[in-house]
Symmetry: C2
Subunit: 219 residues, 2 copies
DNA sequence: GGAGGACTGGACGATTTCGTCCAGTTTGTG
DNA sequence: CACAAACTGGACGAAATCGTCCAGTCCTCC
């Protein structure tokens, strides 16, 4: 995603040009997270980004194309921030660490209590089927990262062999999304934490044999 | 909500007038659920509703006021459809019935896989603080109905005395919301069912004594 | 049967937003 | 240096949308 390689009809792009382009997308992504997609004006992007309108239309044919790139950036950022952690998941403790970093991340960053992907999905899923499918793919990828971790837990015997990592991952992400929505609406981060706790308990309920766990957790 | 009683400055409203007014709100609510609030035009409302624009502005000073009424109608409908069921909740079985009716309701009604309240919350929470607070109040009321049921389960001994109905309700509603979002985005109702199953399992984990349950569930 | 609310129907102005256009300047690199 | 890409800056047209206005008709209840 960072270097998007030899795309179609990219008429030679300088490092500087690529940087500007990236900055435009980042600015749009930020505004769209705070205000919504429809409520974000191209003139706003131009102003905040401190460029002239011609530049915006130099890099993007229209607003649609910009939105598409915003989605791509959100996917990229999700992978960058989630993959390192989720790839480490091999036990419930790892999963709890993941949850903790999400909760503290929610509190600390100055952004609204929103999921950058979920907010886009909510607004765009009914506007263009292309966007909807892209967002569905992002969710699928996120679930895939989580499901891989759960699979490792299952293969190592921590999870019950009958547990379905894919289904568990879907449920966990759903809790995550709902937690974001309630937290944002009520301006309170507790719903987010409660939702994630529920999700982890749901996973924990599939832990193979709690007693067996005690045998090697006597640290 | 249906009869909104003696509101401020309601200059005598005929039955017919009230009906038209209600029809406008219902039409707007429907369009806004399908397309989003910002994407719904007043001209669209006028067209679908088959009234003239003057009528719309006869009943509502501006779009904001209409949105406010849409929120009120959504709350009313939520209470009408949820309260009867949730007031009956006294056991896990009742809760499962509630879940089942939500799942089948999702499939059967022709609407998108969206929560009418959650979709509004997602779009409006960052636009006006008034709307955000109204929606927060709706969520709170919904959670209250559910929490009341969980309280009855706790008082009757089905739930552990240490269980917190309020927190449980928040988590369940969060799962519900996330389930809606994933279902809509992926155009698949399974995430919704998975999320609700997780939520009910979370409640069930607080059931006091599973063994005692067997004594009177031999039907 | 009369008063007042319900309603038509479309013209209209104001504003916002998208997207175009272009003449000219700056920057960077072969 | 020369060329190409990066960039300015604002004027501009087109379209959509909000909201106003009004002359006149229809309905309904007292």
């Amino acid at each position: 995603m960072t270097d998007r390689g030899p795309r179609k009809e990219s008429p030679r792009l300088t490092a500087r040009g690529a940087a500007t382009r990236e900055r435009i997308v980042a600015t749009a992504a930020d505004l769209m997270l705070r205000q919504g997609v429809a409520a974000t004006t191209l003139d706003q992007v131009v102003d905040v980004c401190a460029i002239s309108k011609s530049q915006l239309y130099h890099y993007f044919p229209d607003k649609e194309a910009l939105i598409t790139q915003v989605i791509a950036m959100r996917e990229h950022r999700m992978v960058v921030s989630q993959k390192p952690q989720l790839d480490q998941v091999r036990s419930m403790r790892d999963l709890e660490r993941w949850r903790d970093s999400l909760v503290t991340g929610l509190r600390e960053r100055g952004e609204p209590y929103k999921c950058p992907i979920g907010a886009l999905a909510n607004e765009l899923s009914c506007r263009s089927d292309d966007s909807r499918q892209s967002l569905a793919a992002v969710f699928a990828r996120w679930q895939g990262l989580l499901a891989a971790g759960l699979s490792r837990m299952r293969d190592s015997g921590e999870l019950d062999p009958g547990a379905d990592p894919g289904e568990l991952a879907v449920a966990v992400i759903a809790a995550l999304q709902g937690g974001y929505l309630l937290a944002e609406t009520m301006q309170d981060d507790r719903p987010f934490a409660l939702a994630l706790d529920m999700a982890l308990n749901h996973v924990k309920a599939q832990v193979r044999d709690p007693a067996a766990d005690l045998t090697h957790s006597a640290d």
